[in-house]
């Protein structure tokens, strides 16, 4: 049931997947086992940490840290708990099912964090100038009708997964940046990422936002047009690493070691995938090829096109797993202004910068 092989445009890439991506549930958690041996060489018993994450390419640095034994070397025994969608990861942390999570910063996430139940401790995926992450995808009909640039989205229909999702946020910020009224955009809630893309493909909506690995093949086959990249207009922190206040109180040491291993994973990841040449093209060399097999243990397993999909799908991570704390505060502010986040805790109260660097 390897859906990753069969539906490349929908599941490939680093989707932070608010909505359905369909990982193989049978692979959950057991992948961490071979490294138990390494961990055993430490004097101390390894600290168990349950990490909640999406079964996509987006948490790639965690895969690398796990496969290269960085967690084990720090004396933490990390178990991956894979989720179908981003939102439940935060809820699982609140419920005590996971210790640490990587997920999208959404209205729902902030509402949970505003109750004091969650703390953001580090950065993960970041929209970044020059790194083609999320594309603004326009339907053929809308493109023909003149929607050829992000500024022309005013008054158009736009598919998002849900109110308060990253997509909702991106549309709002794009409108701000391009100088048109966000209220003029007709938002169409369609729940899942595949639905968003299908809605543009079939012309039921004018535009949406899709990750590069989904948007590029569509544009290439003439089923839509890419009119811009989110990272070029509104660079921002899409996903972040978070934990619970209880973890910070009681197991700060384990968290610190977890964070160090994660930062090593990010360093390897950046070395493998995020170096650009003088022309701004990604450099692919032996370092890259050494990292790819670590990832194919988790995504695109057995897919002959895995390499191309990974190279086309990797997204930007800040050095050291740094958190764009200013941007997180800006996001919280935006969601609150929209009436989507109700609480009144300041951003500083939901962020803990004691474990990973700040951008």
């Amino acid at each position: 049931m390897d859906t990753n092989n069969k539906t490349p445009p929908l599941l490939a890439g680093r989707g932070w997947g608010e909505g359905a991506s369909a990982p193989d549930p049978t692979r959950r958690a057991i992948l961490a086992l071979p490294l138990a041996a390494l961990a055993a060489t430490h004097a101390r018993a390894a600290e168990p940490i349950r990490l909640g994450l999406l079964h996509t390419l987006s948490p790639a640095p965690f895969y690398i840290a796990q496969e290269r034994g960085y967690f084990a070397a720090e004396g933490v025994d990390v178990t991956f708990r894979f989720f179908q969608a981003a939102q439940p990861i935060a809820a699982a942390a609140v419920a005590g099912d996971i210790d640490v999570g990587v997920t999208a910063l959404t209205g729902g996430f902030f509402n949970l964090a505003e109750t004091g139940a969650l703390k953001v401790i580090g950065g993960a995926l970041h929209e970044e100038r020059g790194y083609e992450g999320s594309a603004i995808l326009v339907s053929n009909a809308a493109f023909a009708a003149g929607v050829t640039a992000p500024a022309k989205l005013a008054g158009r229909s736009f598919a998002i997964t849900q109110y308060g999702s990253s997509f909702h946020y991106m549309v709002g910020r794009i409108a701000q940046a391009e100088g048109f009224d966000p209220a003029s955009v007709h938002l169409r809630v369609v729940q899942t990422v595949p639905n968003m893309v299908a809605a543009v493909q079939s012309g039921q909506v004018d535009a949406t936002i899709a990750i590069a690995s989904m948007a590029r093949p569509l544009a290439a086959s003439g089923q839509g047009h890419i009119v811009g990249w989110v990272g070029d207009i509104v660079p921002y922190q899409i996903t972040a690493v978070f934990t619970t206040p209880a973890m910070i109180d009681k197991r700060a040491d384990a968290l610190r070691r977890f964070a160090r291993a994660y930062a090593r994973g990010v360093a390897d990841y950046r070395a493998a995938f995020l170096r650009l040449d003088a022309a701004g093209k990604p450099i692919v060399d032996a370092t890259t090829d050494a990292a790819i097999p670590l990832l194919t243990k988790y995504v695109f397993t057995g897919d002959p096109a895995a390499r191309a999909k990974i190279l086309g799908g990797v997204g930007y991570y800040d050095a050291g797993g740094a958190l764009d704390a200013k941007d997180v505060a800006a996001q919280l502010d935006w969601f609150r202004k929209q009436g989507l986040v109700k609480g009144d805790l300041p951003a500083s109260a939901i962020i803990d910068t004691g474990f990973l660097p700040v951008r």
């Binding site: 609140v94 509402n111 849900q162 308060g164 369609v190 989507l340």
Partner: protein
């Protein structure tokens, strides 16, 4: 059985006929709800029930109040009511026609019943993406979702109700020389009406349940869409407020059908 003292003296016959006859005590039912809500509120105020797990009734009421005050409630309700009315009417009309045909004609019976048996168990939510391709992202797919959910139970209820019309009444009609159409109009339909109205109770509830599924995709307004958005935002007071609205809607519809029954089935 001899009496304990074996004397055979005169003694009262013990009463054995009690129980097994629960009475309806509407006040008791209402009081139970009030006490539960009060306990819940007290628990929340005492800090025993964290806001994150279950918002206090007062918070839910406040969310409901704000919803009503801002005019949102009516906007969301009117969109949902239009979909419910359209979808339910469409599904009911089609279901009645097919159910009557299956109940009356040999040629229609097996084909339609086998199709119903094959398609009824399909979760309509799973068909939503297909409906979007067929009927678009607008009202069409939403009405279709509700209509389809209502259609199958209506067929089943109607066929059962028609089958349940006493044969002797139909023979009576034939023996009086009534035309086929007159027998259907004057005997089969009124005879099937109680069963059909019971079906309405079920299908009205199904329509409300499917409202959330129908409004999953592309709905700007609607109670279902509102509940989904609130859930996605973990705005639990709003979520519960939406659920209260849905539940009140259910009560209202059930009450309306009760009135309809009392009016149409006065003869019972």
């Amino acid at each position: 059985m001899p009496p304990p003292d074996g004397s055979g003296a005169e003694r009262p016959v013990p009463f054995r006929g009690g129980g097994f006859a629960p009475h309806a005590r509407p006040l008791l039912g209402a009081a139970t709800l009030v006490v539960l809500v009060a306990l819940w509120q007290a628990g929340a105020m005492a800090g025993l029930i964290p806001r994150l797990f279950l918002p206090a009734p007062a918070a839910v009421a406040a969310a409901l109040y704000n919803l009503a005050l801002s005019g949102q409630l009516w906007l969301q309700m009117s969109a949902s009511l239009a979909r419910l009315a359209g979808g339910w009417s469409l599904g009911t009309l089609a279901g009645l026609l097919v159910g009557l045909a299956a109940g009356l004609f040999t040629l229609a019976r097996s084909p339609s019943l086998s199709v119903v048996a094959a398609l009824f168990p399909i979760p309509k939510i799973a068909l939503v993406p297909l409906f979007i391709i067929w009927f678009g992202i607008g009202e069409g797919s939403k009405i279709a979702t509700i209509a389809l959910g209502v259609f199958f139970p209506t067929v089943i209820a109607t066929v059962g109700a028609v089958d349940g019309v006493p044969r002797n009444l139909i023979r009576m009609g034939q023996s009086f020389g009534l035309s086929r159409a007159a027998i259907v109009a004057k005997i089969v339909l009124p005879g099937a009406l109680p069963g059909i109205l019971t079906g309405f109770r079920v299908t009205a509830a199904i329509a409300i349940i499917l409202l959330v599924a129908a409004e999953m995709i592309g709905a700007e307004r609607g109670i279902g869409a509102f509940v989904l958005a609130a859930g996605n935002l973990y705005d639990t007071p709003a979520l519960l407020a939406g659920i209260v609205v849905l539940s009140v809607l259910g009560l209202l519809v059930s009450w309306l059908i009760g009135r309809l029954e009392r009016w149409l089935l006065a003869w019972r």
